[in-house]
Symmetry: C2
Subunit: 430 residues, 2 copies
């Protein structure tokens, strides 16, 4: 019998408990597939008394998670505490310093300190694996670092936050507005009591920054991500999207441009013939466009106990088998530090919804502002008539530079007949 | 500078030439990502004079591919000749016997001799990698053997043959019949002059057998695959599918059943709300349903120079980095030899299209046969009336055993008023 791979798990929330369950249930299967058993030596969590539905018989309980980074009977520290700093960061740093491998689901930490962690791990010759940090059970990190390693990635984009996708899907299916659907999602446990992390796009931006690192061999640059959430998407916009042949999705997108690496998270109008338009509810998907492979898409559950545990255990089996890989596809010293492409330079098509007073001359005034910014209109749509009352007008444009579009939106917002801030949603063509 | 990984390529058709191109174009990128360069020491192909648009300067030409398995300056033999036996098989066997790693795109060979190859490779401690054998550039073998390794696979299914999917998609889009679309596909180079390998389901069955091995840790069992092609799918069936809310796809499906491992390749009615219904044209997709991860889907181009080269090179980088894995997820000695579940025992819903004489009493006669076989009808559809002429009648059933369904179809085919063999297409629920 070969020596087992000995692990310590910090954090026994949904994911931690799932890992313990999976390891117990597939104990024999994993010993055969991984070449040796995976054994939990110790765990650490805040509340020892909580019933988690898992068997911890014979597993050491550590009150202080940092002890896991010191224990002699631990080869791998599994960090499932979360948070970009604090205990999680200390634990990972200490584990690496002590020559232990690290498996983590912590996107926030990797988004903030990814390059530093990679450098430290490389110096000590240990692995930092993080399949569970992005897109739950979808093995997208493995696809980027290994399966598609022969490609220069031209572009990647994905639905990276299940809460937002659930809300947008439900809004479309029910016709209800954002606030009502959010409240329902909170009641159902699909959204947090404080939902801003999800619905303001921060979580998706963390994941995008990590994906970008692994896809382009670039220093993780969270600050370089342009972020917009979904609060301003109304039922009306979703209805207009339907009419125009789109679905609204919160996407994270990254590509190399002449100005550097562009990373952006924001609601998008996605054409119905794009496969990603059909990823609904809590599902996630990532599209990778490589120069040899062409377009590939990976989809599955983006969160939850089973999928995330599946990802953590895949990382553990890699380590059990001695398979390793630089953290972000290339050695830390070779990570590119391409600048973040400024959002002002982004070129794309736009949807703009205005609430205007229904009176003659409004469209002429709007058109004149657009013409001044050299923005070429693709379509203009006014539904219903309601003289001297408020009506929506929707414009779509051909490709323009973001800066010009913003100047136009600002000027249009100042017109007398325009009664609200224009709602701007980017149209993505794939 | 680390020692390069030295390879020999046998076969310089579309894929072989693509591999040479990719290695040349991403030479530096791969050296960084793989930890060392990948160098082509020698190649072998039938026609030395053919212009393949690749630079072979400084690369040794071997007239006899078997020489690649002997050469001292070759660590990995890349077998891209094809065919389940003959030279390809000899080359792979010899390469393994001489302690060389093997990368191959040869699904036919793996389908026929997969377990023997795995055993031989294990004995010599070499890797046999075959990402390119199934679903082109989609890293599905890596997903099954590594990314989803923590799961017991409950079921997998996929669109594994681009030619069939192209034909079925075009039939649906144009309303034309099978023969016309096949002829067009042949003219366009999407189908071979002798198309039977593709359209009779053999190619998909090879790929399914290989996938099944990697997913279930089972001895590859091509003979255990039930195979039906797409020749009998008519424009009429495609139109009825649309009416009923389905699309017709040639799927390969595998799952564990109480009777053994069920493997089947045949046209399926796929509900429109299943993501795989939307995989169109030459694209491939594989759905893996794992007990922890849930349902995941991987899609991309299933063939072509770039995608297949991408898969071959991913395998080469794994070898360059010293990453290895048992050929079919578990050591060859532990491969299960579960029997093939007999197709007669398959339980599912069915679509049956009849061409009947439009006269009273026909439906009663058909219903009586079905009742005798205890088959419960879900719906019955007759479009148009044409007294005493030929009209189609479509039945759909609830879940029944295949054997009963076949007995019913046979008996119905013998009824006086039934003018052609009933067309039976299985309905898949996901």
């Amino acid at each position: 019998m070969t020596e087992p791979l000995k692990i310590g798990i910090a954090g026994l929330g949904t994911v931690g408990a799932g890992v313990v369950k999976l390891l117990a249930e597939h104990n024999n299967l994993l010993a055969v597939r991984g070449g040796r058993p995976i054994a939990v030596s110790a765990v650490s969590a805040r509340n020892r008394k909580k019933n988690r539905g898992i068997d911890l018989e014979g597993v050491r309980w550590e009150g202080d998670p940092l002890k896991l980074a010191e224990a002699r009977d631990i080869d791998v520290v599994v960090e499932l505490i979360g948070g970009s700093d604090g205990v999680a960061r200390k634990l990972i740093e200490k584990a690496i310093a002590n020559g232990k491998h690290v498996v983590t689901a912590n996107k926030a930490l990797l988004a903030m300190h990814g390059a530093a962690v990679a450098t430290a791990a490389e110096k000590k010759g240990v692995t930092v694996a993080f399949e569970a940090a992005v897109a739950g059970g979808i093995p997208i990190i493995k696809a980027l670092r290994e399966g598609l390693v022969g490609n220069r990635v031209r572009r990647l984009y994905g639905i990276l936050n299940g809460t937002c996708n659930y809300i947008l899907t439900t809004m479309r299916e029910t016709g209800r507005d954002f606030d009502a659907v959010l409240a329902e999602a909170q009641a159902a446990g699909y959204a947090e009591a404080d939902p801003s992390f999800d619905i303001d796009g921060i979580d998706a931006a963390h994941k995008l920054a990590v994906l970008t690192g692994a896809a382009f061999g670039a220093k993780v640059n969270f600050k370089g991500v342009y972020v917009e959430g979904i609060r301003h998407v109304s039922a009306m916009d979703i209805e207009f999207a339907r009419e125009l042949g789109y679905r609204i999705k919160l996407l994270g997108l990254a590509r190399e441009t002449p100005y550097g690496i562009e990373q952006r998270v924001h609601p998008c109008m996605v054409p119905l013939d794009a496969p990603i338009a059909h990823i609904e509810g809590v599902f996630n998907a990532v599209v990778v466009d490589g120069d040899f492979v062409g377009t590939t898409m990976f989809q599955g559950r983006g969160a939850g106990q089973g999928p995330t545990a599946s990802a953590v255990v895949a990382d553990l089996v890699d380590i059990a088998r001695g398979r390793s890989m630089p953290t972000f596809v290339v050695p830390a010293s070779k990570l590119t530090t391409a600048p973040a492409a400024p959002m002002d330079r982004h070129v794309g098509a736009y949807y703009m919804r205005l609430m205007v007073q229904d009176r003659p001359g409004v469209i002429a005034a709007v058109s004149s502002v657009l013409a001044k910014q050299q923005i070429s209109l693709e379509s203009m749509l006014q539904r219903g008539r309601s003289p001297s009352d408020k009506v929506p007008v929707v414009l779509t444009t051909h490709e323009n530079e973001e800066a010009a579009m913003r100047r136009a939106a600002k000027a249009i917002g100042r017109l007398d007949a325009v009664l609200e801030e224009p709602c701007l949603i980017r149209i993505e063509k794939f």
